[in-house]
Assembly symmetry: C2
Homo-oligomer: 158 residues x 2
DNA sequence: TCAATTTAGTTATGAACAATAACTGTTATG
DNA sequence: CATAACAGTTATTGTTCATAACTAAATTGA
């Protein structure tokens, strides 16, 4: 009783295998662990293009949505505006994108990819596709679509 | 052709709805967005217990694995040892866990939860369970088990 | 036996990332 | 026209994550 703060001082059994069973009951835990693996793989691929997850996402959205505003980008990707500025700056400095003044609202910029940005985006998309296919090769099409459906359901809960 | 860096300077069409279609092809993107929602919900629940995701995970593993070492914890949860120290310090200061010297190896500590730690862990586990059930109520049991199976497959790829 | 190496935990520190307040310039409102 | 709202920026802070270097203890092996 008294020695509860140093229980098992006689036997002191060591843990051979660490159990995370109580966390495994949570789908969120499984998702987090899987996402860690995905993210590591993704960052590895993107390093080739000198991009990180966020800057890649930003580039893709600019390529896909020519003329998008920074404020639209920040809300679409849930990046705070101030933090987006430095990302945009870096992409602009690398001449992957340009800021064009919007003539009808001189506060805003329209973002567009340059030809180089377009090409880099294309290459990165293909490379990621290849890596995702490898990473997910043990998961058949039916499962993948179930996973996507579940993720969309969760995402819609916010 | 020539004006590609300031294309559409006449019309400047605005983007009404931002499309993230090219990212939606990646399962990783769906998983990330879903996980953001899960994490926000989780942190909200854990705030009640003055815990964050990592400190909660650490507490659970100590409760489940009495006598676990810090090095085992850090590798189980992929937390760098130096960063784990401050987490352990905080839990110890709150008297949720104790550090006991391992008699046969005086370098190591055996970590154990106190009664208060045990109880807090129990409460937190129940609260999270409740919230997860709510968050995932649109996902039936079959889908959930498919998701978990897919996540484990991905996790195993590392 | 004992010097060299390894291990567990710690300290200090810096880099990367995220969040907030406050500013400039511009547009919208009443 | 004065006031408020908005887009983007700057400055700054806090949080999170990673690395190097340290202390103390245990292990290795000549």
């Amino acid at each position: 009783m008294k020695q509860s703060s140093s229980a098992q001082s006689r036997s002191q059994p060591e843990i051979a295998e660490v159990s995370d069973a109580p966390l495994r009951q949570f789908m969120g835990y499984h998702i987090k662990r899987a996402f860690n693996v995905i993210q590591a793989d993704l960052n590895d691929v993107l390093k080739t293009f000198e991009l990180r997850m966020v800057s890649f996402s930003v580039l893709v959205l600019i390529v896909e949505n020519p003329g998008i505003r920074q404020s639209q980008l920040s809300s679409a990707l849930a990046i705070e505006r101030p933090n987006l500025v430095v990302i945009i700056d870096a992409l602009e400095k690398r001449e992957l994108i340009v800021r064009d003044r919007l003539l009808t609202d001189r506060r805003a910029y329209l973002l567009q990819a340059t030809m180089a940005g377009d090409q880099l985006c294309e290459k990165a998309l293909r490379a990621i596709n290849t890596h995702e296919n490898k990473l997910f090769e043990g998961i058949d099409a039916a499962m993948r679509s179930t996973v996507v459906q579940a993720m969309r359901t969760i995402e819609a809960q916010s």
